[in-house]
Symmetry: C2
Subunit: 182 residues, 2 copies
């Protein structure tokens, strides 16, 4: 419903009708539409983090391969990327106009970023590398590239197949900000 | 009005009232709100391209410096970045749901990208460098990083001052994809 009608366009009634729940059931679980979107974010990022963690044992010693594998995970969810982008970009716009939503979104994005940062630190350590920038900065850059590139891929799917920019440039960035640790 | 109320929330009446024009004056210049937003895009990108071109003679021989200068230009327009991001991100979402808007937006983004690509080719040639990826890919990456980073900067201005991610990572990307030309 959010992807179809927009965050503001989708009413709690629409959502309940589509899900086959009553308004009472909605409000006994979520205080507002904001909370529902944030719960969707949480579920999506939790799933992604779990998938990345599952790759670790196999790939920890090959950071280049791991980056490819992580980018592959993002690609695999591509059938959902359009819906996900619509929801996520729209809620971000909502947050830019609503300080309370911004606080909740930032808190959640920070938790996701911290988990990813810990994974990056773990991987670089296992593979005998150290980063020349704070791991969190690298994670922020990966997120920026991914979100910016996704917008281009969705607007021009033929010219920018999902993942193209990430696969081309992020390994170079990783190479540029890492060196063998002493 | 677009930044305040959203693309869908701002009516032609709202826009005319704020601008002090009649509906007649609006429709004699623009066929729709879409056309007005696209005209705003055109004006903004034209101004940016002009500013970059004005830097060229001085900086053409120092591509690193030029990149910094271009990023500086983006930062300088920072007071408008919030408004601009709201309009631009919202129209992109509109385009993802409306094929006609997508076609018009893609056409305009393509023109902007082509101008930037020509500038990049001109600069690398003058400075005796060649790119190891197509210049247009590099331009797409710069745009992706800028748009993705701007979203983070607007959500978390204290943690990600405008331009931080671009200034940290884009010079590394340029370094990684360029080499002295033979």
């Amino acid at each position: 419903m959010f992807a179809e009608r927009g965050f503001h366009g989708a009413s709690v009634e629409d959502i309940c009708e589509r899900a086959g729940f009553t308004r009472g059931a909605f409000y006994s679980n979520f205080g507002s539409k904001d909370e529902l979107v944030l719960a969707l974010f949480q579920a999506t990022t939790d799933r992604l983090l779990e998938q990345i963690e599952a790759l670790l044992p196999e790939l920890a010693s090959q950071p280049g391969t791991l980056l490819d594998a992580v980018l592959g995970l993002l690609d695999e969810t591509a059938p959902d990327q359009r819906q996900w982008h619509l929801i996520s970009a729209e809620f971000t716009l909502h947050a830019l106009r609503d300080p309370e939503a911004a606080e909740a979104l930032n808190k959640q994005r920070a938790m996701f970023r911290e988990s990813l940062t810990r994974l990056v630190e773990q991987i670089t350590e296992t593979s005998g590398l150290e980063l020349t920038v704070p791991a969190e900065q690298f994670v922020r850059m990966v997120i920026a590239v991914h979100e910016g590139a996704r917008s281009q891929s969705l607007l021009e799917p033929d010219d920018v197949p999902a993942g193209t920019l990430e696969h081309t440039f992020l390994p170079m960035v990783l190479e540029a900000v890492s060196r063998p640790s002493r």
